[in-house]
Symmetry: C2
Subunit: 353 residues, 2 copies
């Protein structure tokens, strides 16, 4: 029999009174801790059901000091890499009884600071952050801000004080370039997704995120090892926006001597290169070889199927949560991990024309 909806939500004390026990006893039954006889347990449960009792987690958190909530601060939740990671975060956390509060920064350091502050005020038990800068990290260091554990996701910072879960981006880019070189390419370009650049440029912006820096370093190292040229006209740093990136790609491909292969460092960059190639009448895998980052669903359906670097995205997200939960239990625990990526060879890489 449903209560009239006008009634206020039942509180612990209402349940206790109806069951003729004290609040402490009712709390023990409902919270599932401490000792109670089976009879009183039943009585309390019955009362709770009749009143449609819902515990007030706010009050519980206030007393217990834990909110069972994790804050996630991410650059762009609509980006395919991050949203797959967040899916894994939500699943892993929920299995441990934690919920997720997600904030978006668009890689703006002010929004990131603000997000961290808000989450601390909401008393999250821990924080997973995709840092937008490798240097501006005061808000993440326990000395000045978080009394809560933090694990970095996808990107590292210039401090050994914060734990992280990242991919080996250096190695990934290195592998991709070697793949190009192994089939004979010697003019290789790079289209690099970068946050803090207005449109696109051929020089690396300052304060670039570690992911970007490591990929570029890995690529350049491989080029050097193969004795290949590193031509700045073949490198563009672009905002992660398809229209701007396509401009950048057309730019690269319109040089007198243009690269015969391009490494594109995320979904948008890969799409931009494909699109630019189309505009210029270049056939992918024949006139132009491409390797992209992240094994997005369309990659294997494209014609030709796109070779990509596959990052272990679900694992990255799950691991970030696991590390964080460990730190929540014991704040002195330190644990970081750099996971390997894998080259998925498909048909967008062929010998140079």
């Amino acid at each position: 029999m449903a209560q009239a909806p006008i009634d206020k939500a039942a509180r612990l004390i209402d349940v206790a009174e109806r069951a003729n026990v004290s609040r402490a006893t009712a709390a023990r039954v409902l919270g599932g801790y401490g000792l109670v006889t089976e009879v009183t347990r039943q009585r309390v449960m019955a009362a709770a059901n009749e009143l449609n009792y819902r515990v007030n987690e706010l009050a519980r958190s206030m007393r217990s000091g834990r909110t069972l909530t994790i804050g996630v601060v991410v650059a762009d939740i609509a980006n395919s890499f991050f949203n797959s990671a967040i899916r894994a975060i939500i699943e892993t956390a929920s299995r441990a009884g934690y919920q997720i509060l997600v904030l978006n920064t668009d890689d703006d350091i002010e929004r990131e600071r603000n997000a961290v502050r808000v989450l601390i005020e909401k008393r999250v038990d821990g924080l997973i952050v995709v840092p937008s800068s490798p240097d501006e990290i005061d808000h993440l260091l326990v000395e000045s801000e978080p009394e809560v554990p933090v694990v970095l996701l996808d990107r590292d910072v210039n401090s050994s004080k914060i734990d992280f879960v990242t991919t080996d981006d250096f190695e990934a880019a290195h592998t991709a370039i070697l793949q190009f070189a192994s089939v004979g390419h010697n003019r290789i370009g790079l289209l690099v997704a970068t946050a803090n650049v207005e449109t696109h440029s051929s020089t690396m912006p300052a304060q670039v995120v570690t992911t970007v820096r490591n990929r570029v370093c890995g690529a350049e190292m491989a080029l050097t090892e193969c004795g290949l040229e590193i031509r700045s006209e073949w490198i563009r740093y672009s905002q992660s926006n398809m229209d701007i990136a396509r401009e950048a790609a057309i730019n690269i491909l319109s040089q007198e001597t243009r690269p015969t292969a391009i490494l594109a460092t995320n979904e948008e960059m890969a799409l931009a290169v494909v699109s630019a190639a189309g505009d210029l009448g270049l056939t992918i895998g024949v006139d132009l070889s491409i390797i992209g980052f992240d094994d997005v669903p369309w990659a294997r359906v494209f014609n030709p199927p796109l070779s990509v670097i596959r990052r272990p995205v679900a694992q990255l997200g799950a691991m970030a949560v696991e590390f964080l939960l460990k730190k929540i239990e014991d704040p002195t625990v330190r644990r970081s991990q750099k996971l390997p990526a894998e080259l998925v060879a498909r048909r967008s890489v062929g010998p140079p024309p």
Copy 2:
């Protein structure tokens, strides 16, 4: 000068004592309400800064009865439509000072019930839900569960008691079929993404979500209007999984008389049809015409570019938040909206072979 990190987080009373005022006065300054002289205001602010004071939102919420948090219950956060919607939700909410707690259901009604319960226990101020069933909605009705306002996103339910923000899916599918018919197609297939089906089938499962039902009805209405056959062999309901959907698509396309055009009702279905066409050696836009749902980034880069139904996804998300905020202020407010979608004609539709 930073405090030693061993110190406990400062509380309101610490600030008040350091500023030589009462807690009430400190609260007035920090909370930005009530009256205080400029001098005391400054004194309190200074004390708060020196102690690096962060308000405890838990305590504030408990007293004020508002958490400034909205719960979002969604089928799959990694799906491109939902994650774009969530991005808009996060942005719109954060502009109003609200944060978002996201839970994932994978269209499982038990997980949905559980999600709603958890969010109510966490005392969210409102709920945005993508319902996984049009009928099992007790947990969403104020009579039995939420004392919190609810707005449905993307899908409606069989009850006029819950507000919603949806797309006009009937009209969208209707338009797509007319487009096929207008260039001469008379054998038209449907690949329909559906949650509660194990693999794929040619009959509509029971309790299908309104989005699915409306699209199928719209398509069938258009077929009827054009005097075209509705052949059940040309219709498959499939789980939203590329491998299963591709099987279904191959199934449709392997009939003796196969359709010359297919409407695919989400990103995965579209990809599946493209992939199946590739396997069967059919050229898209020539041997087989395709219209997909949702203008995902790869659609216009494909060769040929894919014609799609574009839903106003950012607007859907933003509007859901706006409606919800209105209901939070005044629970008696009722407001729902069905937004139009738009056909983006590209080159995946040509005359039948």
